[in-house]
């Protein structure tokens, strides 16, 4: 228990001892620190999960996860995740299916020439490549700036409660 108390959630230096966490807590090489901090503060504005209370003892893990699941901080992470992936997934699936269906339902349209040998079908195919790169980049940026910090804090606090950090 001593060891656990020594590594409370607020001390990043202590957290870095744990190698699986190191990666997520070492910002600065790819992201602007200010943006990451802004995300963190928004997360902190929600009600704290693990203030006081016994750590890693007494409570059934199922209860802990239910409590964490209900907490505002977790619901905020979940909302941010879903508000990006649901519309983005629908958008790319619809765009891709439209591309496939157009080839079988409107081959005339797809064969229409644009510039030289270049026709609508080839342009749409290259467009698929472009949108894939763009959406992947947007998702990775969104997750890095808007989700990672808050999710990591919840992970830490949940593991404090379940005793998972002592491992």
């Amino acid at each position: 228990m001593d060891k656990q108390d020594g590594r409370s959630a607020g001390e990043p230096g202590a957290v870095r001892l744990d190698d699986t966490w190191y990666d997520a807590l070492a910002p600065g090489w790819a992201e602007p620190a200010g943006a990451a901090d802004a995300g963190a503060h928004e997360g902190e504005a929600e009600e704290p999960l693990a203030t006081g209370g016994p750590r890693g003892s007494g409570i059934h893990p199922g209860e802990i996860y239910l409590a964490v699941h209900r907490s505002g901080a977790f619901q905020e992470v979940r909302r941010r995740y879903r508000s990006f992936v649901v519309p983005a997934t629908l958008a790319f699936l619809v765009w891709y299916l439209a591309y496939v269906v157009a080839a079988i339902a409107a081959p005339g349209l797809m064969a229409r020439q644009l510039v030289g040998a270049f026709n609508v079908a080839m342009a749409a195919g290259l467009g698929q490549f472009a949108t894939t790169f763009l959406l992947a980049w947007a998702y990775m940026r969104h997750a890095r700036l808007r989700r990672d910090r808050a999710a990591l804090e919840i992970r830490w606090e949940t593991q404090e409660l379940t005793g998972g950090n002592a491992r």
Partner: protein
């Protein structure tokens, strides 16, 4: 062709085999017997290393040989593969990679079974994973066979048979002795070789047409014998509505299947965190996207430089378009440049096949040992003993899976490899993907729902393949003299994928027990934050 290219190609191939065996030995002498080491390579790979390894696992010989061949023969209709193979990664990135890393330990079944009754779900998902892996393996080994036939000129069917057996034996050695650590490094080496080879050839094609891609397309259209129709949809999948539905079916299977490929999902366990898994997917999308853009240039390049008729004459399915293009780009048959380039392409393709089959064999042996064996055996001894036995079973399973794949590959030698991969994707998308997505995103999903969705996708997908023109009824079928082809489409996706989703929904509705809200809360918190992840 002279004997020069054979000697050089065989030298390069031998060098690659020596290198990979050295990697296997080096990886195999550390910490043998731990499940963490065997299935997940110690979990400490960096996102970049894992990104290259994912790309290596995914860019199979089917893409390098099969997709370029299909584009060379059918123009635009072959391009669907290139697009579908890449777009599918968005689904993996958005909905699967991070959550799977957080929820599972070694296999796909870990994730689906997390909040269910473990045994039936594990057995179902394990069985589906092994099926998908074996289909995918067959596709790769057919590629190896046709490559060898070309490499050894008129050496005939016996050389092909020995090639398939040799590849099978090597992959068993990699997996059984090196585990995930060796497999990952082999993938990285192979990804670098494949991307290097593809880039070199692409540059040569572009130079041949003085950087004018319009001229490349026009020449390709002209030499294909189809004119402008070559660049528009319809050459392969035009005509009747059956062929058009087949196109749709393939399109669906390609975009949904990747998220259910066991050997791709198990790669996410080799990095320490979900964030690292996401970044590896970012790397791999960049690499894979670049590669498939190059396959488009190479496919049209083969049509323009070699000509569709010459490609078809060499191999009716188009699998040899790439090596033929290399010979032409180097200066034609008999020239030094042609010899060198041909040897390089053959060696790269061979490296690709070896690496991919190793990755798939590892994933399927993990499914056999960690999902099937661990669910079916009687528990005895300590946890540590059980783990050690499980890894031993996994090594044996690698041998068994290898043997089955060799036998099937010898049967299926004349099918296009990209097409076979399309089938594997269809089965993955029907059996694995509905259960995985429901388990991650549907609160009320139950054990019965999971089991029904896996079997409800797997059984129809396999049955429809057996009843399709691929197996019987046509001159290009596996059994041309029999005819029990009742189902008109060659790819079952359009029917079996919706069935998988439907059965999962139905099974959940008809469940005797409701989903446990506490276990759902736990699963969701773990998935999105990584709490309690290994």
């Amino acid at each position: 062709m002279t004997g020069g290219h054979e000697t050089l190609a065989l030298t390069l191939v031998s060098a690659f085999i020596a290198l990979t065996l050295a990697i296997t030995l080096w990886a195999g002498r550390r910490r043998r017997g731990s499940a963490e080491e065997f299935y997940a390579g110690g979990r400490l790979f960096s996102p970049m290393e894992n990104g290259f390894a994912i790309a290596g696992d995914y860019m199979s010989a089917a893409s390098f040989l099969g997709v370029t061949g299909l584009i060379a023969l059918f123009g635009y209709d072959g391009l669907l593969y290139s697009v579908g193979f890449l777009v599918a990664w968005l689904l993996v990135l958005f909905l699967v990679a991070e959550l799977v890393r957080n929820c599972g330990r070694f296999t796909l079944a870990d994730v689906v079974a997390a909040r269910m009754r473990e045994r039936p779900v594990r057995i179902a998902v394990g069985a589906a994973s092994v099926t998908v892996s074996v289909l995918y393996l067959v596709a790769q080994m057919v590629g190896a066979g046709s490559l060898m036939a070309l490499l050894l000129g008129g050496a005939g069917p016996r050389a092909r048979t020995w090639m398939v057996i040799g590849v099978g034996a090597l992959m068993v050695v990699y997996v059984a002795f090196g585990g995930m650590r060796a497999t990952t490094w082999i993938q990285v080496v192979k990804a670098v070789l494949l991307l290097g080879g593809a880039t070199a050839l692409t540059v040569l094609v572009v130079i041949r047409f003085h950087g004018d891609l319009g001229a490349l397309l026009n020449t390709a259209a002209e030499r294909s014998g189809h004119g402008k129709a070559f660049l528009a949809p319809g050459l392969k999948y035009g005509g009747g509505w059956t062929a058009r539905l087949d196109f749709l079916s393939l399109g669906l299977a390609l975009v949904l299947g990747t998220a259910g490929l066991p050997h791709i999902l198990s790669r996410f366990y080799t990095v320490p965190t979900a964030r690292a898994a996401r970044r590896s997917v970012g790397w791999s999308i960049g690499l894979i996207g670049g590669f498939y853009l190059m396959t488009v240039v190479l496919g049209f390049g083969a049509a323009a430089v070699v000509g569709s008729d010459a490609v078809r004459a060499s191999n009716p399915a188009g699998n040899t378009a790439m090596p033929l293009l290399a010979v032409d780009l180097g200066g034609g048959a008999g020239s030094t440049g042609g010899t060198v380039l041909f040897a390089v392409v053959a060696a790269v393709a061979f490296a690709t096949i070896l690496a991919v089959v190793a990755g798939i064999t590892l994933a399927s042996s993990a499914s056999v040992a960690h999902d099937l064996y661990a669910s079916l055996r009687r528990p005895r001894g300590t946890v540590r003993d059980a783990q050690r036995r499980e890894v031993a079973v996994a090594r044996l399973a690698a041998v068994a899976v290898g043997a089955v794949a060799i036998a099937l590959a010898l049967l299926a030698q004349d099918l296009n490899t990209a097409f076979l991969v399309g089938l594997a994707f269809a089965v993955a998308a029907s059996a694995n993907v509905p259960a995985l997505l429901y388990a991650l995103f549907w609160r009320r999903f139950t054990t019965r729902g999971a089991v029904w969705s896996v079997y409800g996708g797997l059984v129809p997908a396999l049955t429809l393949v057996v009843l399709s023109p691929v197996v019987s009824g046509g001159p290009e079928s596996l059994f041309p003299h029999l005819d029990f082809a009742v189902f008109p489409l060659s790819n079952p996706g359009a029917v079996s994928i919706p069935l998988g989703f439907l059965m999962g929904w139905l099974g959940t509705l008809l469940s005797p027990e409701a989903a446990d809200p506490a276990r759902h809360a736990e699963a969701e918190v773990r998935a999105l934050t990584g709490a309690g992840a290994v």
